[in-house]
Structures are given as structure tokens and as C-alpha cells.
């Protein structure tokens, strides 16, 4: 079972621009907040204000349970009005937080190798996943390879943190300003056959186009793959049915599942891209 979500207040420890337009938010939470599973998220809102109206879904980037309190980290990109307001908050300011929410990635106990594919800010939940996989099953640790893509060098964000837990990072930039010149899915396609599907699992998060391309690549490939998807959300709790994700039913029809409750992590092959 997943941890029961709480609606609580968190106090900002820091909220610093890491890379241009990308912020690392560290929040101090009461100890009641449950330990999240990688891939889970929280709904964040600026306390008391009704502007913006809705809370914003944000993946959990890191979590540490202390004695008297916990520290939760969010890695976010300024994408619009809500994240712009968020980026203006200062240490000491309070936020409302609902979480942990969603299903999270399901670890494959057999897997010996994890392939992470991140596009843009999609690196956030995958970093949390990598951090939680890395110490597992010592002395036979999970081997990890991360493909990390961005439009250009300056937009590559969060590499430091990821490289601390995953030494094998393969960088792709659309404009070739760093690493492989081209899409992350292109590089992965070239190298795909080098991976032994046995005991290997793919975890991906990034723009829809990236994940759709990945779904095509893997269509006839035996590698298992979980993706974390983004949809507009209102409640985060499965109540409003606002966050519909089209999935294929066993009968071949399309049905809508809830990104917030049934996801945000789905088997890539279930989704109707």
C-alpha cells in the first residue's frame, strides 16, 4: 500500500536558481509526512492565496526523514505564472503541500540494470529513483545508465545530483552543444541493442514527444518500460477526473485513467500515444 497523503504546511529552507530558469526548492515538513516512493508527487500551493487558483503538481526530487522533521526537495522549471510566483518565495515562507500522491515507479526486484531516460525537467523523479536504487541489494548494486537530454547545454539541469548516484550519464543536446548531438531517443535507439533485456528495466520521464518516440522504439522490443506522465490536475486525489490519460483497454478500446491516482507512472505500452 502507498502512504496516506497529508495536507500540511511546509516551510521553505531554500529556493535557489540552479540552472537558468530551474530552481531547487527545499522544504521542511513535519515528521508526519510519509516517506514517498520515487515517482510520487506533491501538489503545491502558495498558502492562503487564491492566485493561482489550483495547486501545482511537482515530482519529489529527494526526501530525507529526520528526527523532528523531514526535508523534501522539488526541482522545478519556471513554466508559467504559478511557477514564477513559486520562484519568488524566500526561505521562511510557507507553502501548502498535499502528498505524497500517485503510484510511483514499481521497482523490479529481479532487475540488475536500470536505464533512465530523462528529457528536461523529467530528470527530477528519475534522480529520486536513481538515489533509491543505488544502495539497493549491495554487494550486487543495480547498474544504471542515464540518458539525459535537453535542447542545449545551458538547459541541462540537475546533472550534479544525478551523477552522484549514477556514474554512467549519456548527455544529448538538440543543438549538439554538449554530448551527443540529437534527441535522447536517437542515442538510445542506437545503443538499444547493446542492452540485455533480461533483468533490465527502462524508466522514463520527459516531454510527451520524447515518450511517444520511446513507445515506438520499444513497441517490438522486450525491454520493460515505465513512464511518468504529466497532465493538468485539480485535486491530485482521483476525485475530479481532470487528469485523464488515454490507455488501451484489453478489448482494444480507449479508456481514461487518472494521472494522479492510477499514475503518474504507467507501463509505456498501456498508453494510447
Amino acid at each position: 500500500m502507498h502512504p496516506v497523503p497529508l495536507f500540511i504546511k511546509g516551510r521553505i529552507l531554500d529556493n535557489l536558481e540552479a540552472v537558468r530558469g530551474h530552481f531547487l526548492l527545499r522544504l521542511k515538513l513535519p515528521p508526519a509526512f510519509h516517506h514517498p516512493v520515487p515517482g510520487q508527487f506533491v501538489m503545491i500551493r502558495v498558502t492562503e492565496s487564491q492566485t493561482p487558483l489550483l495547486a501545482r503538481p511537482m515530482s519529489i526530487y529527494a526526501f530525507e526523514k529526520g528526527a523532528g522533521h523531514s526535508v523534501l526537495e522539488i526541482f522545478y522549471r519556471v513554466a508559467g505564472a504559478g511557477t514564477r510566483i513559486l520562484s519568488g518565495l524566500k526561505p521562511g515562507d510557507e507553502l501548502s503541500l498535499l502528498g505524497p500522491l500517485g503510484n510511483g515507479f514499481s521497482g523490479n526486484q529481479e532487475a540488475r540494470r536500470a536505464i533512465l531516460i530523462a528529457g528536461g525537467i523529467g530528470i527530477s523523479p528519475l534522480t529520486f529513483l536513481a538515489a533509491s536504487l543505488s544502495p539497493i541489494r549491495e554487494p550486487f548494486p543495480v547498474e544504471m545508465t542515464a540518458y539525459v537530454g535537453a535542447q542545449r547545454k545551458e538547459a541541462l539541469a540537475g546533472l550534479d545530483r544525478l551523477s552522484a548516484v549514477c556514474p554512467d550519464i549519456r548527455i544529448c543536446t538538440d543543438d549538439g552543444s554538449m554530448g551527443y548531438g540529437g534527441r535522447v531517443t536517437e542515442l538510445f535507439e542506437r545503443e538499444l541493442d547493446a542492452f540485455d533485456p533480461q533483468g533490465c528495466a527502462v524508466y522514463a520521464c520527459g516531454p510527451r514527444a520524447m515518450m511517444k518516440r520511446l513507445a515506438e522504439l520499444l513497441e517490438k522490443h522486450p525491454l520493460p518500460c515505465q513512464v511518468s506522465v504529466e497532465e493538468r490536475m485539480a485535486c491530485g486525489l482521483g476525485a475530479c477526473l481532470g487528469c485523464a490519460v488515454a490507455v488501451r483497454t484489453p478489448g482494444g478500446d480507449v479508456a481514461f485513467m487518472r494521472a494522479c491516482k492510477d499514475g503518474p507512472v504507467f507501463d509505456i505500452r498501456r498508453i494510447d500515444w
Partner: protein
């Protein structure tokens, strides 16, 4: 005894339905109750109204289904639901365990479908009332909403009345010229109460891509933005009908709820507010109680409909 130590009476009657307090959940914003059970003691709600039910399950609209607007939320869920039979089998057993009034919100694409849904629910055990959503389009009459004509609204009311003895609340659409006329019409046709308002039809455009934000192009507007319109309509309707009126639309805090009660609503429903704060219903309930205490009002009935003309 200081007034502030009195425990005011909060119970209200909605026609044949007695509620322990006037705070209800609005359909479609509280799921089937279980989603909010970790946050709200469901036994403290005046009533719990579930997501709208149709005869057959409905898949709903493709995404995007949501758009945020200034102080508002547009939704085009498309009435996705598991269907009335699955509701009775899978959801009602959980809800029945609570002592709170459970109200099923229903809709149909034809008058007959309304009747069939009502029949099934009338035979199920554990429901206290039906709330009948007439904002949805009548497929037989070219897609015009049932709630937009007094005649069609009355027809639905009569059909549901025949189908069940459950107390029947007609939920009115605000997208009309004269909502009090529709209210009178459903009153004559046998409604026990009316609730208003459902969402205002609205739209949003993605200027960068020059396309609608919602897949469905238009959606229903809820939240604080619509509260002035909702209040005005409740005021119009309470002045025209004798059956109880339930007010909703943009109620976010105790003050908002009090506005509706003072104008004459016998109870209120809380919708979008629960998305912002899952404890919203309880905060509103407690705030109403505090107001009554602070104003030495021992019975909420003495507050309802006390609006003074300037």
C-alpha cells in the same frame, strides 16, 4: 452564559430530507467520497453528493480536460463515470457505512434514461436523495440542455418523480435567461428542492498554438469567479419558489457560505474549494458555527434568508 459557549443548532430540512448541517459536497468534486476520506470525517458532512451517474458507464472527453482561468476552473470531464450499476455494487457499500446522507447525482441523454437511472437508485439501499443534473444536453432534442427550457426541465422532473420516492433535488443550469422560471417549472412538476448553480459555460484559448486549451473546446466554469452570479441566481430563485433552495458556486470559505445562507439558501454545496484544500468542507462548517456563536444565533434557521434590503 456567554453567547460564545452556546452550541448552535445547525440542522436543516431540505423538504423531506433532514441534514445534520448545511454543508454538502458538490457533485464531481468529491469523487465517490472515498478519495477524500483520508482528510474529511465523512460523518461530519451535512450530505455527500457523488459524481454524476448515467445508465451506462461513460468514458468522458480526451484530455486536456482542465484549464485555469482568473479565479476560476474550466472543466470538460465529459461526465465520465462508472455507470449506475457499478456505483451501486462497488461504491455504495462503502458509503452506506457512514451516517451522513448520501445523495446520488444523476443525468441522462434522454428523459427516459433519467427515469431508468432513478429507478435503479430508488431500489438500491443507502441513498437519502437524488440530485438531478439537467445541465447536460438532450440528445433527442438536438443537444439543447434539459435545463435550458422550463418544459424539458419539468418533463425530466416528472419522469424522475414517477420512477422513485426518493427526495428529489433538481440541479439547475445557470446558462439561461431566467433561472427562476425554470425553478418554478420544476417546483410545479414535483421537485422537493432545487440546487444551483451548475457551471457556467466557458472557454479558453492557447494563444501560442491558436487552439482551444480544452480538447472539448468549451467547458464548465467553477470557482470564486462565478460566486456573484450564483448568489444573484439563488436570490432570484428564493424569491420565486417555496421549495428549499441549495446554493453553490464558488464557495471557498465560511464567509462565502454565509452569503448564500443569508440570501436564503437552506444549505450549500462546496465544489472546487476541495481541490484547493481537501479540508475545505470542514473549515466552512466550523466557520459557520463560529459565526453563529459570535452573533448569538442559536439556530441556523434564524440566519437563513435574513438579508435586509438597504
Amino acid at each position: 452564559m456567554r453567547p460564545s459557549s452556546l452550541q448552535p443548532s445547525l440542522s436543516v430540512d431540505i423538504g423531506p430530507l433532514s441534514l445534520r448541517n448545511p454543508v454538502m459536497t458538490a457533485s464531481g468534486t468529491f469523487g465517490y467520497g472515498e478519495e477524500y476520506a483520508p482528510f474529511v470525517d465523512l460523518n461530519r458532512l451535512g450530505a455527500l453528493i457523488v459524481k454524476g451517474l448515467s445508465l451506462e458507464p461513460r468514458a468522458g472527453n480526451p484530455p486536456p480536460r482542465l484549464a485555469e482561468t482568473p479565479s476560476g476552473l474550466l472543466n470538460a470531464v465529459g461526465l465520465q463515470n462508472i455507470g449506475v450499476k457499478a456505483f451501486v455494487k462497488e461504491k455504495l457499500p462503502f458509503l452506506k457505512e457512514y451516517s451522513t446522507a448520501i445523495i446520488a447525482n444523476i443525468f441522462g441523454e434522454t428523459v427516459d434514461e433519467y427515469g431508468k437511472v432513478a429507478e435503479i437508485l430508488g431500489m438500491a439501499d443507502g441513498l437519502s436523495a437524488l440530485e438531478v443534473n439537467i445541465s447536460c444536453p438532450n440528445v433527442k432534442k438536438g443537444g439543447i440542455a434539459f435545463g435550458s427550457s422550463p418544459e424539458m426541465a419539468a418533463e425530466v422532473t416528472k419522469r424522475v418523480r414517477e420512477a422513485t420516492d426518493l427526495p428529489m433535488i433538481m440541479k439547475l443550469s445557470p446558462n439561461v435567461t431566467d433561472i427562476s422560471h425554470i425553478a418554478e417549472s420544476v417546483e410545479s412538476a414535483g421537485a422537493d428542492a432545487v440546487s444551483l448553480i451548475n457551471t457556467l459555460a466557458g472557454m479558453a484559448v492557447d494563444v501560442e498554438h491558436r487552439k482551444p486549451v480544452l480538447y472539448n473546446v468549451t467547458g464548465g466554469l467553477s470557482g470564486p469567479a462565478i460566486k456573484p452570479v450564483a448568489l444573484r441566481m439563488v436570490w432570484q430563485v428564493v424569491n420565486r419558489v417555496n421549495i428549499p433552495v441549495i446554493g453553490l458556486g464558488g464557495i471557498m470559505c465560511p464567509n462565502d457560505a454565509l452569503e448564500f445562507l443569508i440570501v436564503g439558501a437552506r444549505a450549500v454545496e462546496v465544489g472546487t474549494a476541495s481541490f484547493l484544500n481537501p479540508h475545505a468542507t470542514m473549515n466552512i462548517l466550523e466557520g459557520i458555527e463560529t459565526y453563529l456563536r459570535e452573533h448569538s444565533i442559536s439556530d441556523i434557521g434564524d440566519l437563513i434568508g435574513t438579508l435586509e434590503r438597504p
